[in-house]
């Protein structure tokens, strides 16, 4: 049985002009400790899935099941990382990290110790009393990672956490996050635009289509690739093969979309 399951989940966004069906009849099941990537064009409901799993929005249809229990009945401990770090600029790095423990009312002394140790794990030293604006983008995203992991979430949601970083920082952070999550055996959902990143980090990849958003196809990443760090995966011969498969899959939806658009313009 799955650890985290979506059962026939749909979601509509309403406005006074009408509604958008962001997600239609989406179901999947994730095992404990599995790393899943959601890949697809913008507007395919990737981020909506994360918001639903996080309990920030209620789906208009279907349900989310976590460990055989309905979400909503139980409060699933979620770690959520966004495109940008969203560190609070008026709090020190330490206070930023301790925001989760504070809300959970954990023991602050223990949390502080754990924070220092985790900062060391992400190779940040002597930053706890600084403010976020004195850190680089990559460093800030590392702090955001520590902030997300310190409450020991059962499920980790990553919403394009590397997209705002330069390429070099991105590769370094991918390796770091991969190793850290492997070590803590976290169940993870990663949303990304980047095919390479999806292959490099995941066990399985869900390719999504837009309008309405839904999962079109699932790719299993070969076992040889799963056990390598993201940087080395990119050099593996099988990487290219899978990349091309996903690439052509993604292009299929584009091809079916574009003629329809041009027709609308003419009429």
């Amino acid at each position: 049985m799955g650890y985290l399951q979506l059962k026939h989940v749909s979601h509509h966004y309403f406005s006074s002009k009408g509604f958008i069906k962001a997600l239609e009849n989406t179901s999947f099941s994730i095992k404990e400790g599995e790393f899943i990537s959601l890949l697809g064009p913008s507007g395919c409901g990737k981020s909506t899935i994360l918001s639903i799993v996080a309990g920030i929005i209620q789906p208009t249809g279907g349900k989310v099941v976590f460990n055989e229990q309905l979400c909503g009945d139980v409060n699933v401990e979620i770690g959520y990382m966004l495109q940008e770090d969203y560190l609070f600029p008026w709090k020190t790095i330490m206070d930023n990290i301790l925001i989760g423990p504070k809300i959970y009312r954990l023991n602050m002394e223990e949390a502080k110790e754990k924070a220092l140790q985790m900062l060391k794990e992400v190779q940040l030293k002597d930053v706890e009393n600084l403010y976020p604006d004195s850190l680089s983008g990559g460093m800030r995203q590392r702090v955001a990672l520590v902030r997300t992991l310190i409450t020991n979430p059962k499920v980790l949601l990553l919403d394009e956490p590397f997209s705002a970083l330069d390429y070099q920082t991105k590769l370094t952070l991918e390796d770091l996050v991969f190793n850290l999550l492997r070590q803590y055996r976290k169940t993870t959902l990663l949303v990304t635009h980047d095919i390479g990143e999806a292959i490099a980090m995941s066990d399985r990849i869900f390719v999504m289509k837009t309008n309405p958003g839904s999962i079109k196809k699932t790719f299993n990443v070969p076992i040889e690739l799963r056990n390598e760090t993201p940087f080395l995966v990119r050099r593996h011969p099988k990487f290219r093969v899978l990349f091309d498969q996903i690439w052509s899959e993604l292009n299929k939806y584009k091809a079916t979309l574009e003629p329809r658009k041009s027709k609308e313009k003419k009429s």
Binding site: I56, G79, L82, F88, I99, I103
Partner: protein, 266 residues
Amino acid sequence: MKLDQQLFENYKKNIKREHKVILFWQIIILIGFFSIWETASHLYWIDPLLFSSPSKIMSLLHERFVNGTMIGHIVATLFETVLGFVIGTIAGIILATFLWFSPRLSKVMDPYLVILNAMPKVALGPIIIVAFGPGYISIIAMGAMISVIITTLVVYSSFKEVDPNYVKVLQSFGATRWQCFKESIFPATLPTMISTLKVNVGLSWVGVIVGEFLVSKRGLGYLIVYGFQVFDFTLVMSSLLLIAILAAMMYKIVESLEGWLMKHTK
């Protein structure tokens, strides 16, 4: 290396010189204004009975400070203004907080806030005096009321402008609405709140002086009205001068408070 340093020294020198030039002209204007006033009054270019003169004002102020008939008025007005300013600002922030907590309440209140904001608050003076009695409470209420609605509107709109992703971060930890407010909305809008302080200082002076015009037996506003009634325009001008100085001082204090708070809250 030496050349770079030389250029930097020149740059610093230029800036210093510029500062001196500006200060020089500021002092010239000050001295010029008062000496032209004095001369004009002395030579009857303007009616000294109506426009007084700096020397008369100085001697009146000196006399009143020495015999102690001025300080009470200053204290009364300052007390009312500071209290009106503080109450108006805090009440405005609390109202904005209520509006943020209940989006429905804010929609219901919207037209009423627009009306209250558009309303010239000093026109409500007589009603306030009837309600709170002809004393300093009415005057403080005037000073507060003139700034409370605009504070509510400005602070509430800045609450709404906070990046929703900050709240999202907190929600992902299961934070309550109050925790979201305390940890993200309030600190993120602190700079806006502080900048409303500067506006409110000026507004509170307006409310208090108008209030004193209407009822008071004390205060600088009272002195202006009293001076006008007994045709003592030296007294009117002295009070105006004191108000200008005190209001500017209060503004400067709030400004340095702003600088200090900004530094300590980032």
